[in-house]
């Protein structure tokens, strides 16, 4: 067990955790914004898959990584738009329409993959680079400042989202639309429009999450690449109490435990591999059960807003 505490291993675990957390960060922050405005989107996994496919396809054919990222954002936005139409305008049951979106995204990304690419291929993708000065700090430098750009952007999203939500009128409107849509409406906030934009933004970020997978983390596309990641990302929103910093904490906790259990297996620690794989999920539940933070969800979450109804 004392093998665990060598520098190599600690650096290894933390580096893995940072990498693993990246797609969750994009998707969870996007979903947080959407949920703060009042819309639950369970279809995040489907959007991630479509984003991953779009980014990969573009890069495979043009070699341009940023064009791929743009493609993922556009695709994510379109799927977010679809979700908005169904959930906000048509006022459908959000949980179920989200699942429909997931099935649709999974099916379409697989179909397009089979028809346009066919077999598993790899791309060179985003390369890691070390940030000067900061990258030379012992341990921390290796862990935080020696990654690829998609990782850096994901972590920068956290303060950016915090700032937008807490320090701008826009953020105020989003939270108002979710917390008390009737009051917001009476104050001149176009609740539907705010929800549309939040869900579309959420979709865009979910698309980016997919791109971070196919272009940076695994550098390939395969059907069902995400294997349910999107659902974990949604769960992490609840864990984080609808705050970007909480989401960061959740994503890091989950990913660190995951990295930890992999390392334990590699080092031959005598633990059943199935139990090891369960650990991140168990600990996430435990962490939430035993913390005092009992954040309340946005009052208007999952309730379609109809003007004139109370």
């Amino acid at each position: 067990m004392d093998q665990i505490f060598t520098t190599v291993v600690i650096v290894g675990i933390l580096s893995s955790a940072i990498r693993l957390a990246t797609p969750y960060l994009y998707a969870s922050i996007g979903e947080t914004i959407g949920q703060l405005s009042g819309v639950v989107n369970l279809g995040v996994d489907g959007i991630m898959l479509m984003g991953a496919y779009a980014a990969f396809f573009v890069v495979l054919n043009t070699g341009n990584l940023w064009l791929g990222v743009l493609a993922a954002m556009v695709v994510g936005l379109l799927m977010g738009l679809l979700m908005s139409v169904i959930s906000v305008t048509l006022k459908a049951e959000q949980g179920i329409s989200g699942i429909g979106l997931y099935i649709f995204g999974l099916g379409l990304s697989t179909l397009l993959f089979k028809v346009t690419i066919g077999t598993v291929k790899t791309v060179d993708g985003f390369q890691t680079f070390r940030i000067p000065i900061l990258g030379n700090i012992p341990i921390l430098g290796e862990v935080f400042f020696n990654n690829n750009v998609m990782v850096y952007i994901a972590f920068l999203l956290v303060p950016a989202a915090w700032w937008v939500l807490e320090k701008t009128t826009w953020g105020l409107r989003i939270k108002a639309a979710g917390q008390n849509p009737a009051a917001a409406d009476s104050l001149g906030v176009n609740v539907d429009r705010v929800r549309y934009m939040s869900v579309c933004l959420g979709g865009m970020l979910a698309g980016l999450a997919g791109a971070s997978l196919s272009l940076a983390l695994v550098k390939l596309f395969q059907e069902n690449l995400t294997a349910g990641m999107g659902f974990i990302a949604v769960a992490l929103v609840y864990f984080g109490g609808w705050k970007p910093v909480g989401v960061l904490g959740g994503a890091l906790l989950f990913s660190t435990v995951n990295a930890f259990q992999l390392w334990m297996q590699v080092l031959g620690v005598n633990i059943n591999s199935n139990v090891a794989v369960m650990l991140p999920y168990l600990l996430t539940i435990a962490a939430l059960a035993f913390t005092v933070n009992r954040a309340r969800q946005p009052a208007g979450l999952n309730v379609p807003y109809e003007r004139g109804e109370s």
Partner: protein
Amino acid sequence: MPSETAVVPARSRRRFVFDWKEILFRAAVPLLAMFAAFIVGAVLLLLLNVNPFTAYAALIEGAFGSMYSITQSLVKATPLLLVALGICIAFRASVINVGGEGQIILGALMATWFSLQFRAWPGWLLIPATIIMGFMAGAAWGFVPGILKARLGVNEILTTIMMNFIALQLMNLLLRGPLMDPGGVTAGTFLAQSERLPEQVWLARMIPQTPLHTGFILAVVLAFVVYIFLWRTTIGYRIRAVGLNPHAARYAGIKVPFNQALSLTLAGGFAGLAGVVEVLGVHHRLLEGITSGYGFTGIVAALFGGLHPLGAIPASYLFGSLLVGADKMQRAVQVPSALVDTIMGLVVMFVVGSAWLSRRWAARRLAATAKRQEVK
């Protein structure tokens, strides 16, 4: 002045009468939505160089073309119906149960372990005992998120999703270890499946040469039980009250968190039953992939049935037929199975998105009835 009862639709004043016109309307809307989704699907088929007519003909033939396909749809409908019943209960308390997959696994695990453990028991004792134990296992898996929500305020979407993954690993752990088929170990194949269950615990085949098993009857009977439970018992009333207006319910002295936890526990139990019937009636053993995605598709079936336990019966059958027919279509025109999933996703979104139509119609009819009474 119109009498006070005039604006309330007549049906709610009577006990077991159904408003057939209303039901027809509510059924027509999702069917129209499905039709629209299939049109989009036809476009996709054309893009793949497949004749949509051939494809959809195969779908219909696959779903209804033979006694075997019809019974196959019923067999598929059984776990769908069971999960849907749980969803209906949970939904009435405003709780969405996304933990179906994990709960099915627990039910299946318990059914396997229990019937192998007590294989000496006779069938008439072993089958009901296994069913009850399987229900309890699934219920336990729904209880954990329920109690965490009720006592500690932990959100159930988080816990149920996490517990799905935990259940999967638990099954892997048991299947590759203590529950692995000893035959597989000696033969060196190490397949991820359990021993074949003792024959007396297998659910009987109702029609020879078809896969239809008695689990279907159980599911239908339970649908009526759930209906009676929700609408004719005090507990059921409380659950529905919590879902309709939690504030008013609390005011009336109903314990909201307790009832939500209860509904989640019951939902878990029914999903667990789905696992039990799959193991006892279809596979006769536990193997990986036992859930077949029913934890999610059951939610869709519940939706198609208007989130009403009796509506879930025809809805599960129709949805089951759709799935069976879609597989046949895939075989006949050799399109990637992903195309079928894409169309399914569209169907769900279109149907759920069309709900406003039935609400609009219902509102209009309500207004028309009120007007009629006024004129009188």
